[in-house]
Amino acid sequence: MSPEHKHIVKSFDQDLQRLQVLFMELNALVILQLEKASMAVIEHDKHMAKKIYEDDDKVDAIEFEITQFSLRLLAQRQPLGEDLRRIVSAFKIATNLERIGDYAENMAKRILKSENHRKLHESNPFRQSFLTLTKVVMNRLEEVMKAYVENDAETAQKLWKKDEEINEFYWQSFQEILNFMIAHPQDIPFYTDLLFILKNLERAGDRISNIAESIVFIKLGSLKVKKEN
């Protein structure tokens, strides 16, 4: 819908803006959690890991606020058409963001619990792969939520398909680490942890893809352009 067509009831537009602000808050927090998790992994920083673990409550709180707010909008505005799709999708998008927050938390927990973890030194061949994957995930998340705020289905469509890249990158790293483990059996516990951590990033990629799908649905009312296999 063209942006010049505002709701006759102005407060409905204000409500929808508020929803976007809540999403930006949630997204900023989740990206921060991912960034901290990546630092904690590289530096083996248990203090940071603990902070991530604690801050997950904040992520949950904003998700809950979005859920409550969307429920109120459904009851109060009885939305139809694109508004209905937007508000119902808010529940899904919020859940997906909250889950990405959980993955950051999982990474932190692994560092807190594991006795095998240690720093990923500059010299470690997988330090770079790990950093690259983290960066890609964080950038994608940033982009997808920008597309959400701008109601940009075209970008969302592209990001939706790009999920394959994260998957491929993950499987490639997985293979490399596996081969490394075979050659260095004494390091198996440490690298098992690292595989687990990478898996969380790969899952975050799936969630981003879900969000992209929701954006396409909000805008087009269908999932018109099917994801290519």
Binding site: M1, H5, H7, G81, L84, S222
Partner: protein
């Protein structure tokens, strides 16, 4: 050999309506499925009532009324010269926005339709028809012990169901309803909606409503009018989540 039944009971073909110099309806093509509820929505003044009233020629008495195009009922143009209006309105009944009752008893209000359409039956037969109509209109339980009471004492919701009973007593095929719930509270509205759900087993219902939520709740098909033009018609379950036309989208999301 099995005869393939036409799924449409009424087909408006290229219908334009004029009153004097102003054109109220423009080239509308719209067909109505048998035993389904079709909702007509649109802003006030968009021509919903005008169009609805064309379907049983209720506009005929309006000064300078002119209709172009055809309205086929069972494939026969109702605007043909040969059409018998009384018989047409027996088959296509109408329930109005304001629940109306004649200053008579509850019983007489239902039986009135029969008499009006020259369908008068013997006393016992008439009793049965009245009881049946009141039952089908979900009013029987509330009025069976006071059929001789004056009808005007009924509540708004009851009066509307009485009007529906009056219209179904004469066994129409199609019931036209023009904003039948706009004067009713939510509970009375829910009763009418439940009734509409029931009635479509037997009748085809064409419902003008200003409530999009009501259209979404009770209808299988929805048609959106804007300034006398039919903008979009489709299955209601997609119409309200994913309309195709920009004007429809704006209307159902409340945008100016």
């Amino acid at each position: 050999m099995r005869v393939k039944e036409d799924p449409f009971i009424i087909c408006a073909k290229d219908v334009s309506v004029f009153i004097g110099k102003s054109q109220l309806i423009q080239n509308v093509h719209l067909s109505f499925l048998k035993n389904k509820v079709t909702a007509l929505i649109g802003a006030s003044g968009s021509g919903k009532s005008t169009f609805l009233r064309c379907l049983n020629r209720l506009n005929d008495d309006v000064d300078d009324f002119k209709l172009e195009g055809e309205i086929l009922f069972h494939e026969k143009n109702i605007y043909d010269n040969q059409t018998d209006l009384v018989s047409l309105r027996t088959k296509i009944g109408m329930v109005f926005q304001k629940p109306t009752a004649f200053p008579k008893s509850i019983y007489e209000n239902v039986a009135y339709g029969l008499r009006l359409h020259n369908l008068t039956k013997s006393g016992k037969e008439c009793d049965e028809i009245v009881e049946n109509a009141l039952m089908r209109a979900s009013l029987w339980e509330e009025v069976k012990d006071r059929l001789d009471d004056e009808a005007y004492r009924l509540s708004g919701g009851q009066l509307q169901r009485l009007a529906i009973a009056r219209s179904i007593a004469i066994e129409p095929e199609v019931i036209l309803m023009d904003e039948p719930c706009s004067a009713l509270d939510p509970i009375a509205t829910a009763r009418i909606e439940e009734l509409i759900d029931d009635l479509k087993q037997k009748f085809t219902i064409i419902l003008v409503t200003h409530s999009m939520q009501q259209a979404a709740r009770v209808s299988e098909r929805t048609a959106f009018f804007n300034k006398g033009i039919l903008i979009e018609e489709g299955a209601s379950n997609e119409f309200f989540t994913n309309p195709q036309n920009e004007l429809t989208q704006r209307y159902i999301t409340g945008r100016g």
